[in-house]
């Protein structure tokens, strides 16, 4: 792994990524996107555009804004830049390419909920964001921005875990309710929004909900693809078209994972019939698994990783995911199904549900391969470590 910026590719769909290749300065930002108009009803814009959160949960942004608005007390905005999913790099890329667009969106969201404070929870150093903050005009933003480092562990991006981390506590989820909108940072009504969601909001404020239409999304492509890295794609296209428009695949595939490790496997012959939308793409990580690697071992490694990345707070997840990982590694189909059913919906957060969904989906798409493992202990292929677990 390198610490360098992940590649972000500009293509015909580029909206958020329109500034790729230009310096992330305020002057270039204004040249690329224009000034942020004032006086918009942001709640109305969010509702009319049907914008959904891009952190993985796809919660309607307008509903989140409204939930904070209706609370008494002094609200605060938290920008979720934890990005703990190993296959996702789009938030850090966006903060490198268009930090001012994210700041615009955060200021808009803060003004919409009557807040003067924006706190970034960032999983990794973001020098471009630091530099952009020094260029902001306080009189225009009418909010203060604060950057705080949080762990980049898998669960740190869960919104209650992020709030805990910002409190200086271990980044572990808390029971909901209370939701952050009710009692979040410092006990205050808190709007938690993903980096990319806020950047979309900043463009919707400029161009209107009609322009946004179906919208675009950032995806992080990995595996057997010609141009791995971050791309911007229109929502509502098929997975096959998405892969083709981002440079295509480089090998025969065993399957494509859509939506990262809480997502779903798609069989190669189904990519033309699966439409990628804001509700099935998670945080936008898409991994093309080549047929050359051992899919069973790749997936077993991911289930083990998810078991280890749990917050270890809730019994069913703490005990159930290691058991699930063991059953998956032994290709015990019935036991994987039973354990997946046993752990789902029994945690304080959706971590066990996500891991169970991944395991079940792998059972479906890699049924033959797993059967070979169950019968012979191996399929003859080795784990090429295409699915990142670091």
């Amino acid at each position: 792994m390198t610490a360098t910026a992940p590649a972000a590719t500009r293509n015909g769909s580029a909206r958020l990524l329109a500034a790729v290749g230009r310096p992330p300065t305020r002057a270039e930002h204004l040249r690329t996107f224009g000034a942020l108009p004032g006086g918009n009803d942001v709640l109305e814009l969010a509702a009319a555009s049907k914008l959904r959160g891009r952190g993985g949960a796809a919660f309607p942004t307008a509903a989140k804004l409204a939930a904070v608005l209706e609370r008494d007390g002094s609200p605060v905005v938290v920008v979720n830049a934890a990005e703990g999913e190993p296959a996702s790099k789009k938030d850090r890329s966006l903060l490198r390419v268009a930090p001012h667009l994210v700041l615009d969106g955060a200021a808009l969201a803060a003004r919409a909920v009557g807040s003067r404070e924006v706190v970034f929870g960032i999983g990794r150093p973001a020098p471009e964001l630091d530099a952009a903050l020094r260029e902001r005009v306080r009189r225009e933003d009418r909010v203060t921005f604060e950057l705080r480092r949080v762990p980049s562990s898998f669960v740190a991006g869960e919104e209650t875990a992020l709030v805990q981390a910002l409190h200086g506590r271990p980044a572990k989820p808390t029971l909901k309710p209370p939701y952050p909108s009710e009692r979040g940072l410092g006990g205050r009504p808190t709007l938690v929004q993903n980096v990319e969601t806020l950047a979309h909001l900043a463009l919707i404020a400029r161009h209107g909900p009609a322009w946004y239409a179906g919208g675009t999304a950032l995806v992080t492509l990995g595996g057997a693809v010609a141009r791995p890295g971050v791309h911007e794609v229109p929502l509502g296209i098929t997975l096959a078209d998405l892969l083709a428009s981002c440079g295509g695949v480089t090998a025969d595939l065993a399957g494509v994972l859509v939506g990262g490790y809480f997502g779903r496997w798609i069989a190669p012959d189904a990519t033309a019939s699966v439409v990628v939308s804001s509700t099935n793409m998670g945080a936008g990580a898409i991994l093309a698994l080549p047929a050359s690697t051992c899919a069973a071992a790749e997936c077993a490694r991911v289930v083990s990783y998810l078991a280890a990345e749990g917050a270890r707070q809730c019994g069913p997840c703490r005990h159930g995911l290691p058991a699930l990982a063991g059953a998956f590694a032994r290709a015990e189909r019935g036991e994987v199904e039973r354990l997946a059913g046993l752990v789902a919906r029994r945690g304080a957060c959706r971590h066990p549900d996500g891991a169970a969904g991944f395991a079940r989906s792998a059972l479906d798409v890699f049924a033959e391969e797993l059967a070979r493992h169950a019968a012979r202990g191996s399929c003859g292929r080795r784990d090429e470590h295409v699915l990142p677990t670091l």
Partner: protein, 70 residues
């Protein structure tokens, strides 16, 4: 309560729960235990005839992880 007719259901706070298992002993009508001794709660509403039993189970949880919600 403002809705006396609304059914009550049993809930567990999975973070607070440490799998002592008292709830399953005291209220087997709605609680069984999983492979590791953690409660599996039947979400079916608790009938009036079982409310006393349910309340005793709630009060007995050493971690205060069990509650009745309307």
């Amino acid at each position: 309560m403002t809705h006396p007719s609304r059914p009550v259901t049993l809930r567990v706070d999975p973070i607070a729960c440490d799998g002592k298992g008292l709830c399953a002993e005291l209220f087997p009508e709605r609680v069984t235990l999983d492979d590791w001794g953690f409660p599996l709660i039947d979400p079916t509403p608790v009938p009036r005839s079982l409310e006393r039993t349910a309340r005793r189970a709630v009060a007995s949880c050493p971690r205060c992880a069990l509650s009745l919600a309307r």
